[in-house]
Assembly symmetry: C2
Homo-oligomer: 322 residues x 2
């Protein structure tokens, strides 16, 4: 495959992130292992700066811009974690961030983004053309648009999640790595690292049932587009994978499975009660697939990425009570 | 002070726990530091085996019993974390545990205790004399009663929390260590370690307002007894400190302050939203005092023990919604 990133790009990203991003812990739970009949290594990106893996890609992208470009500022379209990540990366690089955010974005994520110092511009998720809005904003204000996934520097940055996990997992092989899929930034980066360093391991993606474009794409063999339905997994309501992420997914990802909102809540509950971890819906998606039996793992050693933990206590309480 | 434990006992406990108990992580949060104007080191005993610091003392006590005594089994009176800890310690030592548990104990804690293999015997928290019940149970069945706090091996085991934290905190001094107080097992062990290894640091305890016997005792200079009122901090509803813990508290603890249930819930919310950590009410008590300004910490470097994380998602949701 003539991919836009390779292992060297992921390694270069890791070098840029060294001392800036957190090397997040890999956590294990005997109770969880007993529930699924496997050895599960939880890569807790909930403890990443900004509360999600997104900081890795955002910082790799923003810090790599030419100084004069970077100085003019960056912009991004995001309902949450990418917004906070780009804003934090911009601040650390001494520049400004303008974020286009849907008016129904989770309150906690908007507050975090503003807290990191972004200027937030609202748009209507259902009415406005976000791509056009973003392009005109970037052009008018001379900002560099940092795409949430279809950007080689972002993809390489996200791949450092797998690079770290493989290192932390030690010499014993992993049989699979399970990660959430929205536009494919995380899984394209992670699959790049896994296929190069541990080619025997399967890279498996998980989407919410309501936004299953990548599962459909793997089935049909071409990049499909869907109209995302309602789901609590707000980080994965992407209609299609990227032009750059899709070829890597097609070449290197073994399977993409789907989970329901109920399965996601069940996983959030297990993570809360057994592992004492706060994980947002999209962040619990990968474990939900393992718990639901959608990914066969019996007797295996499996890495599972908990991709983010940005959910308010009230929103969590409402999900648990529903 | 002619204390029943010293630093050597805490060090001996650490050696027994090595490779059995988890060396729990020390977590930090820029957001939290900004809120309190201090550098806060969170010692996350939520990730300890059994979900609370209690495993340290229980294992130190059970594993130190003479083989013939240990073989006959152990018993304990506890509404939760000590119960699970003694049961788990017994299982690891190849013996049995019988637990006297109040009929209104949190469901999750009872389930965990039974899950670890204990025989649970119920009693009425408000009607029965738990001490008499425990003594007769121990005598009838030839079991060794493991007291939740008034036992030198338990106290020394809990002190390993501070021993570890001081090691993890590195060469820079701590100005204070803040821990929750029920019967005084944790704070007596921790104060023993702190006073020996970092005598410039204050050891500070935190009680729920509804069960403030130790705060009253420090004020009056003698061991006071209260009738604990209702509080969400179910791990700290102890009417008095121990005969063994009290002299150490009086000699080595700088101050004991109190917090309200509302302040505890506020701390649980901060830990959830900012730190992505699940902490039970008693476990959040120490941070609650810091957040509420009951412990002066401005500009200081402060260790705060998050003593446990055993709370069900439904119970958490109910507290947040209240």
């Amino acid at each position: 495959v003539d991919a836009v990133i390779g292992l060297d790009d992921v390694r270069a990203a890791a070098a840029r992130l060294d001392g800036v991003a957190h090397r997040t812990p890999v956590l294990t739970s005997r109770a969880l292992d007993a529930m699924v009949g496997a050895t599960v290594l939880l890569k807790a990106e909930t403890f990443q700066r900004g509360g999600a893996f997104k900081f890795r890609g955002a910082y790799n992208a923003v810090s790599s811009l030419a100084p004069d470009v970077r100085e003019r500022g960056v912009c991004a379209v995001s309902s949450g974690n990418h917004a906070a990540a780009v804003t934090l990366a911009a601040r650390l690089c001494g520049t400004r961030a303008v974020i286009l955010m849907p008016s129904d974005a989770p309150a906690l994520k908007r507050a975090a983004t503003e807290g990191y110092g972004a200027e937030v511009v609202e748009f209507d998720r259902y009415r406005d053309d976000r791509e056009a809005l973003a392009r005109s904003l970037a052009a008018e204000r001379e900002l560099t648009l940092v795409h949430p996934f279809d950007n080689p520097m972002v993809m390489a940055g996200q791949g450092t999640v797998a690079l770290e996990l493989l290192d932390q997992a030690g010499p014993a092989a992993l049989d699979a790595l399970v990660v959430s899929v929205g536009g494919g930034g995380l899984i394209s980066g992670c699959a790049t690292a896994v296929s190069a360093l541990m080619p025997g391991a399967r890279a498996i993606g998980v989407e919410p049932e309501a936004s299953d474009d990548v599962a459909r794409s793997l089935a049909s063999g071409r990049r499909e587009r869907v109209t995302p339905g309602r789901t609590i997994a707000d980080g994965q309501q992407t209609p299609t994978s990227g032009e750059l992420t899709w070829p890597i997914i097609q070449a290197l990802v073994h399977d993409v499975v789907t989970v329901t909102d109920e399965q996601i809540v069940a996983a959030m509950r297990v993570l809360f009660e057994r592992c004492k971890l706060v994980v947002e819906p999209s962040g619990a998606c990968a474990l939900a697939a393992v718990l639901a039996g959608a990914v066969p793992v019996a007797g295996q050693r499996v890495g599972v990425v908990l991709s983010g933990g940005n959910i308010g206590a009230d929103a969590f309480a409402a999900l648990i009570a529903a």
